[in-house]
């Protein structure tokens, strides 16, 4: 009885997840050592810890979660509707975006008295 479960794919996915995790663990130390400083824009973002490394970590974790869903949970082989239902919690990313954007806007305004007075 043959199986269309591809062990090769599973093991490749496993190694991909392992390597991406190692990169993730390496990023914060690397960023603290070499980067995430010091221009004015970066200072603004630094207030909320939103360095390039943060975005890299977000991207890596979402990629890893996607790989687990697609290959280990077999979503790749499911119908469009099941894929759609499965991805619904990702709507939280929209709320996260609004929250982040509003917080940065508030921070920006509070640190620019001229802009603030123009609004008033």
């Amino acid at each position: 009885m043959s199986s269309s479960h591809s062990r090769k794919t599973y093991i490749a996915v496993f190694f991909a997840l392992g390597v991406l995790t190692l990169i993730e663990i390496w990023i914060p130390g690397f960023a603290n050592k070499y980067g995430n400083s010091a221009s004015v824009t970066q200072k603004l973002f630094a207030q909320y810890n939103a360095h390039w490394s943060t975005w890299a970590l977000y991207a890596l974790s979402i990629a890893k979660a996607g790989i687990v869903g697609a290959y280990f949970m077999h979503l790749k082989h499911e119908t469009k509707w099941l894929k759609f239902i499965a991805i619904l919690p990702a709507i939280a990313a929209f709320y996260a975006f609004v929250l982040g954007a509003e917080t940065l806007f508030r921070f920006y305004m509070e640190n620019n008295p001229t802009l603030m007075s123009q609004i008033k």
């Binding site: 009885m1 043959s2 199986s3 269309s4 479960h5 062990r7 599973y10 093991i11 996915v13 496993f14 997840l17 392992g18 995790t21 993730e24 663990i25 990023i27 914060p28 130390g29 603290n32 207030q47 909320y48 810890n49 943060t54 970590l57 977000y58 890596l60 974790s61 979402i62 890893k64 979660a65 687990v68 869903g69 280990f72 949970m73 077999h74 082989h77 499911e78 119908t79 469009k80 509707w81 099941l82 239902i85 499965a86 619904l88 919690p89 709507i91 939280a92 709320y95 996260a96 929250l99 982040g100 917080t103």
Partner: protein, 239 residues
Amino acid sequence: MSHAPAASHAGHNHGSGHGHDHGSEHGHSSIGHVIDHDFGAATNGKIAMWIFLVTDGLTFAGLLLGYGYLRMRNPQWPNPQELLGIALTGAATFLLICSSLSMVLSLAAAAEKKKSSMLMWLFLTALGGAGFLGIQYYEYSHLVHEGMTISGLAKPEHLEGAWRFAGVPENFASTFYIVTGFHGLHVTTGVIYLLVLLIKGMRQREITPEFYNVLEIGGLFWHFVDLVWILVFTFIYLV
């Protein structure tokens, strides 16, 4: 559609997923065996598990958004890597990824009706989950010993070990325990679920398509626990 060859004998014809085959050659003419137009050959149990996972995913999303809000509004929030053990938790993360691999290998063995191989991989999956919980217990006991509990942080003048938390907002402790604890509860549930599947599997004389289906549904829960941890690990420990 045909990643589950064993299940194709469960009275379902996988077909193209568009409802052309109605399994009439198996003598099932009842409407319950029609291949669903929207969900293909996915069984009711599998769809139900997916819907549960969506609600559970939204619960985690709510907790993480609350955490994100508290953190963004608090510029004194520390760099979590300086207070939490990344190496240890990285090992725990790797353990969960290993257990996700052993789960799919167990399912692959079940698809080939290799019972002992299926049981071995399933046992290793449960063992990986138990190992994760062991690491979490070790981590929690250290943090509690240093004065970090779910309701806040001890002050250095009250507890010698608490010097590391000087100036750290109390929400750092609460959000950490609430999010990782809720995930730990899922791992605990998952390990129990896997052990139940293991006992059920041992009682099978041979792997039936019905058991394959039950195993696949259990696997979905376990992979979800891994998937959520990937996000929790990044948001709570690394960022």
